[in-house]
Symmetry: C2
């Protein structure tokens, strides 16, 4: 009905200064999560969870998105029944300059090297 759908469901995000390097590295060390992050990185805007077609169930997908959110790697906002996901680029770049880009570049190089892209 409303032109601007204001969702009431709130999601807990760590503030910028609560983000820990160890947590970010751990979040990125899982193949599924790294794949999600890579897709978010090349996306022009936020992507819904259903956009991703991962070789795991929806339950597991939900789990991975939560890990990414709670570690501060992504931001999640409800819009209707969907949940939009976006990288927290600014926060990450402020805390860990250049880190995300290097990880993404490394992931691209490795995917190319192994011939298995995600």
């Amino acid at each position: 009905m409303n032109a601007v759908t204001t969702s009431t469901r709130e999601l807990a995000h760590p503030t910028r200064d609560e983000i820990r390097l160890e947590g970010v590295l751990h979040a990125l060390s899982d193949p599924m999560r790294l794949r999600i992050v890579r897709e978010l990185a090349v996306a022009e805007s936020d992507l819904s969870c259903s956009y991703f077609t991962l070789p795991v169930t929806k339950s597991t997908t939900t789990h991975h998105f939560r890990v990414l959110r709670e570690s501060g790697v992504i931001r999640q906002v409800y819009r209707g029944t969907a949940k939009l996901n976006g990288l927290r680029r600014e926060d990450l770049d402020l805390l860990f300059p250049g880190l995300l880009d290097r990880v993404l570049a490394a992931a691209a190089l490795e995917a190319d090297r192994l011939g298995t892209d995600g």
Copy 2:
């Protein structure tokens, strides 16, 4: 038991092309291991395990060094009763250009931010 006393106990290392980004990120996502890597990074030469004074037992320290070696982050060589540890900078920089430096810089920034250095 044997007669070969060339002090060459061999340790299994992954070859460069066996190193995986996920494994490296996972290895670096542990506080103890990140601390070890940071110390190795500023060292002029290889360091023995006993050089490090970590708040864990020697058994646990051995475990962490093994994780770092098996993930390809460090190289370990026996010399007498000691075991010398060094970063595999060249291999890592070839595989993942700039990644290690950014992680180290991020770790330094975070340590400064949190006021808790290692």
